[in-house]
């Protein structure tokens, strides 16, 4: 009998190295958390839970509350998701099931290329193209005729929560699209054929197999996109308007957690700096939880797919 006594020393070295790096990643994350916590201690002590619901952000009187930023981040991200998910899912279905073969790869390639564009470029494009386009093509006519609806109230300046959400939506489409395509590709051919063989149309085929196989995966893709949208900084800062207010119209200007950190960090000190870091800590926790949730959902889906469910 051959006993596997000593493993190859190179294997051992490799194992040790990967364990070290895996541990290093964990340690870095923990360290990041600890540092954020330590640096924000002053704000936590001074404001406590009121930091979460206070609307004042006033360096003159040294009073800080994060509500407008939390609100702006959540609302713009959810709006972005609301726009990006149907768009990505539709595009994924088109690319996978309807596009003629010669169109398939170019479209998929271009869509995924979007993911590689630096966000400051998106921001510039937002300022020079998207914002004027939205202002003249959508906001002005809408506020003229539908301005009495609170959601569309107010003057159509341009930089706004709406502009930020649309820009965010465009930025997260590639991620949701690529995960959705993978999810759609896990549907077994025989399930599609089952629908067709019963006299289903292609559209019914997609509706049924998506309902049967893809809901958890699409949900995972959505949460992944949400994680991206929550943390996006540069592009949002450039088009959201940067006013720390609780808006109720999408045409109003808002602010986001990441944007306020980017704008004020360089000149801040003392309690203001500590408050900014506390916002950072909150953002860190939220994106961490959201990303964890999406990973968990996607891995569960992959497991189900391998069991043929």
């Amino acid at each position: 009998m051959v006993r596997n006594t000593g493993r190859n020393p190179k294997d051992k070295l490799f194992e040790g190295a990967s364990a070290f790096f895996a541990f290093a990643v964990l340690a870095l994350t923990a360290l990041l958390f600890v540092v954020l916590l330590r640096e924000s201690m002053q704000a936590i002590r001074d404001f406590g839970a009121s930091f979460l619901y206070s609307r004042t952000w006033d360096p003159v009187v040294d009073q800080y509350g994060a509500l407008p930023f939390i609100y702006g981040t959540l609302v713009s991200s959810f709006l972005a998701i609301l726009m990006a998910v149907p768009l990505s899912l539709g595009a994924a279905i088109f690319i996978n099931d309807f596009a003629p073969p010669w169109l398939k790869n170019p479209v998929a390639f271009l869509a995924e290329l979007l993911a590689a564009i630096p966000s400051v470029i998106f921001g510039l494009w937002g300022i020079f193209v998207l914002v004027p386009l939205l202002r003249d093509g959508f906001m002005k006519p809408v506020s003229k005729y539908l301005g009495w609806i609170p959601l569309f109230e107010g003057p159509a300046y341009g930089p706004s929560v709406l502009a930020a959400s649309v820009l965010l939506a465009i930025m997260i489409v590639p991620f949701i699209l690529s995960v959705s395509r993978e999810v759609l590709a896990t549907v077994p051919q025989r399930q599609k054929e089952a629908v067709l063989s019963l006299g289903g149309t292609r559209w019914e085929m997609i509706r049924i197999v998506v309902g049967q196989h893809c809901i958890p995966g699409i949900f995972g893709a959505t949460v992944l996109g949400l994680g991206r949208a929550l943390g996006e900084t540069m592009a949002v800062t450039m088009v959201i308007g940067n006013r720390p207010e609780i808006f109720y119209s999408f045409f109003q200007q808002g602010y986001s957690m990441a944007a306020v950190i980017a704008n004020e960090f360089a000149e801040a000190g003392g309690l203001q700096l500590s408050s900014l870091i506390l916002i950072g800590l909150l953002l860190f926790l939220v994106t961490f939880v959201v990303n964890l949730a999406s990973q968990w959902m996607l891995s569960r889906m992959v497991k189900n797919a391998s069991r043929g469910i």
Partner: protein
């Protein structure tokens, strides 16, 4: 008896690989036809032409005529969706919808194409179909369980019930028993015999005893050609073609 299918000079290609060569065949109404032949000879390709299942396969193309009640269904002008309601299909692997209950699995075809049925009508249709598929007695008390919680053989009969629910005239079956144990296989064979009173059945099988037991006619394919088709008694005792004889006596490749 009248023919439901008349197939004339059917050729089929995947890209430039010709898989079906000038098939001519007549299929009588309410008959059971077995399609036999060595692996890769085009049996599946052939029966999938009969309900235009290849429409979604990139690169597949066919020529010739497939007359279903004198209408050429191979023509682009025929809507494959309507055709598939008349020509149902059962697959090699049972493929119930995983998140649907037994009931929903059978009812799914009845809700397609915007059709609406009352709850009562739906329940009647589901019971009737499950009965025809000889599954009703086994599942009547747990219709709301997931379809995939059934055994393999039950799942296959569920798929048969699902196909029958839309009331097709023809049932195509591609090796419906190859994933099943002998007991389930015997049940499905019995079922095919019963169903042939009301349906025309075309079944692909590798099992000669099975073909002999269930079919009126046997078609023997080889390398994309229909070598011969005859009464099953004739094929198994006194085939006209030497290659058929070689195949059924097991002397073949």
């Amino acid at each position: 008896m009248a023919n439901i299918f008349e197939i004339r000079n059917l050729c089929g290609w995947f890209g430039d690989h010709q898989v079906l060569k000038n098939i001519r065949m007549e299929i009588a109404k309410f008959s059971v036809t077995s399609v036999m032949g060595p692996s890769g000879c085009g049996k599946s390709t052939f029966i999938r032409c009969l309900n235009r299942m290849h429409d979604l396969t990139p690169g597949f193309r066919m020529s010739g005529e497939i007359l279903l009640d004198d209408v050429n269904i191979a023509s682009d002008r025929v809507d494959p969706v309507n055709l598939r309601r008349r020509v149902g299909m059962v697959f090699q692997q049972p493929n119930p919808f995983p998140r649907m209950s037994v009931f929903e699995n059978v009812a799914v075809g009845l809700k397609l194409n915007g059709k609406k049925m009352s709850r009562g009508e739906l329940a009647d249709a589901v019971e009737r179909s499950l009965n025809m598929a000889a599954l009703w007695n086994e599942v009547r008390d747990h219709l709301d369980r997931p379809g995939i919680s059934l055994s393999g053989g039950q799942q296959q009969r569920l798929c048969i019930a699902r196909a029958l629910a839309v009331e097709p005239e023809v049932l195509l079956m591609d090796e419906p028993c190859s994933a099943l144990d002998p007991v389930s296989t015997a049940k499905i064979e019995e079922l095919i015999e019963d169903l042939s009173e009301k349906y025309t059945i075309v079944v692909v099988t590798h099992n000669m005893q099975q073909a002999a037991r269930i079919s009126d006619n046997v078609a023997f394919f080889l390398l994309g050609e229909l070598i011969e088709m005859d009464k099953s008694g004739k094929i198994f005792t006194n085939p006209s073609d030497k290659r058929t004889e070689e195949y059924i006596t097991g002397r073949f490749g």
